[in-house]
Symmetry: C2
Subunit: 372 residues, 2 copies
């Protein structure tokens, strides 16, 4: 194996694949980055047992010149730190069976290789279903739901986002039983598929494709999802189990609807959160008061209280809004909703409130009230 490569291109690619490597891995070989040089270019692979990231760097005049094809596995963290600091074009060469020399400018390095025969085989995805989707829209669906997954492990299926593609609609849902975030989008492909993707994989997807404006290609198999765009691919094991039917959770009768300015409500809930951080007091009180106004307040015994009153733009139905909600849940939802105004629907005390952008059906957020 021998090639010359631009140090910036190498460093960025190594950082992307190294991000999934776990130093705590019990399989020593998984602390390595696999490098495969061929006539087409160089492929880097990083993996932990659940997640695989691959980067294909194409052979191009100025960026990469492959002299001899070959394969090796290098210690991931050392290789990553090293390439960050190399001063110019990099010359990598497998010197013997046991080491790779890396030269750049005046710097000469030798790294011991890990045993490439032990590197696990990646799952075959040829058999699965695949389709393409607008990358920016796919990522925004993830971003706008991911925060709502469960963080405890009582119901593992709830620690991921449930993606479903059916009848020209793509849908992402996340819930931790107390709150739910759902985003829908029209897509111009006919596919019937659904799966639940772990949050850790989704976070990596957002990072890997952050600057991508391109289409992404998605593969599904029974146990894996792969998302691929312009030479970068990420493959994640899916969460096993049946995702709950969320359509039943959305209340269909509404007692009160109010419309308020989104940013103004966010500010008020954020401030009220100051006094809602203690145990059993993680809640913010919303109360409709005379003259079309909403009072947002919170209280911590022995410390103090805060309240402010904001204008309600529109109110219909029974106006007796008087609920306590988890302020952080409300803030999370308000942050990702589009548009200037939000439409909040209240039901009886036992049912969740529904929050949406005004006139926007593509996002639905549910938050269950808490007892005061």
């Amino acid at each position: 194996m021998e090639f010359f490569i631009n140090e910036k291109i190498l460093s960025e690619a190594v950082a992307d694949v190294a991000a999934v490597i776990s130093q705590k891995s019990t399989l020593f070989i998984l602390k390595g980055i696999k490098i495969e040089a061929s006539e087409d270019g160089v492929r880097l692979t990083g993996s932990n047992s659940d997640l695989i990231v691959e980067k294909q760097i194409p052979a191009e005049k100025t960026a990469l010149e492959v002299i001899h094809p070959g394969t090796c596995v290098l210690p991931g963290s050392y290789f990553q730190e090293l390439v960050k600091k190399l001063p110019g074009n990099v010359h990598m060469k497998k010197g013997s069976e046991s080491c790779v020399t890396i030269h750049a400018g005046d710097v000469k390095t030798t790294l011991s290789v890990l045993s490439e025969g032990e590197y696990p085989r990646l799952p075959e995805l040829d058999a699965g279903d695949d389709f393409s989707i607008n990358g920016a829209r796919f990522l925004s669906m993830i971003r706008e739901t991911m925060f709502a997954v469960a963080t405890d492990g009582n119901r593992p299926i709830l620690t991921g986002v449930h993606l479903s593609f059916s009848g020209g609609t793509a849908q992402a849902v996340a819930t931790n039983s107390q709150r739910l975030a759902m985003v829908k989008q029209d897509i111009d492909i006919e596919t019937e598929n659904s799966c639940t993707v772990p949050k850790t994989a989704l976070k990596q997807m957002l990072k890997l494709f952050r600057s991508s404006k391109q289409t992404v290609r998605i593969w599904f198999t029974d146990h894996y999802i792969q998302v691929k765009s312009s030479g970068t691919s990420i493959t994640s094991r899916l969460l096993d189990g049946r995702y709950p039917n969320v359509a039943d959770l959305i209340p269909n009768e509404t007692k009160t609807v109010i419309i308020v300015d989104r940013l103004r409500l966010m500010e008020a809930v954020d401030r009220a959160g100051l006094f809602a951080t203690e145990w059993r007091n993680h809640n913010v009180h919303l109360k409709f008061i005379e003259g079309n106004r909403l009072r947002i307040s919170s209280y911590t015994p022995q410390i103090g209280n805060i309240e402010e009153v904001i204008r309600v733009n529109k109110c219909s139905g029974d106006d007796l809004v008087d609920v306590y909600v988890d302020g952080t849940f409300l803030l999370d939802a308000l942050k990702v909703i589009h548009g200037k105004k939000v439409d909040i629907r209240f039901h009886d005390f036992m049912k969740p409130m529904v929050i949406q952008g005004e006139g926007d059906e593509s996002q639905v957020h549910l938050i269950s009230p808490v007892r005061a």
Copy 2:
């Protein structure tokens, strides 16, 4: 107590005094911020048992209007978080013996007060010696030595920077026994004083006066130092004990002197540090080689090695440089040295190397070699 104050001025002052408050303090009252309003303005105080920060905000037309003088102690972290988020001019008023109301825009808050009678009295510094010194130069003396203090507590006196003022010279020294950083400056005042200031206090000083171009006023007593500039003061307990005489540590015979480019050496030592992070291998090898060059290398068994060769601008004396040093110590020293080139003096294997800016006697850095 009642006053109106600009929210930005209040928020910045609160952040400064809150920085020294420890949430772990066993004295509950020290989790509070003391507020004293008088005709002249408002004084805020934050303290832990060793460190006190005070901010005086003068009464001025637009920034602060005091209606009634008075005193209170508010829970520090709540007050700090609250004032960060207030939307406009703040109206603070002590409503009863037990609480203070804080109004800003539509926001109304009540905070319980802590018992002001329990707030500790601050040390009296009237009796001490005091003088003024250029603030920027004083801070740079701290910045250029502080990193070299001992981090373990075996010899508590070494966990601070020793400041001495004598015969028109100000000197700062820090050492952890393996390395030493010393900075000298001429000052145009006659004072004879010396003390050892804990690193935690020095870090706060750098933060508090970071943007100050003004003169600072320094008070000394037997147990305290106070540094004051434009309404802000910090008072720290001094470290007890006798600081070692460092003049004896600087070797006076030199075997070899080399002069190299500072940034070029920094890059090389930084890269070599990649393979010098393991236990017992925290060292970088410096070796003079033929043709007026210096080889910088390091090696970690089972992982790999790195080496690079840089040009030596000048070399005099016996040229057999062949030493191992702690790379992080060398890097720390190179970072704070002024000028493009550094002058490194080597002695026998048991004596520290001496690093200075070329032709600059104001800074001296010593680093003891380690065994390979």
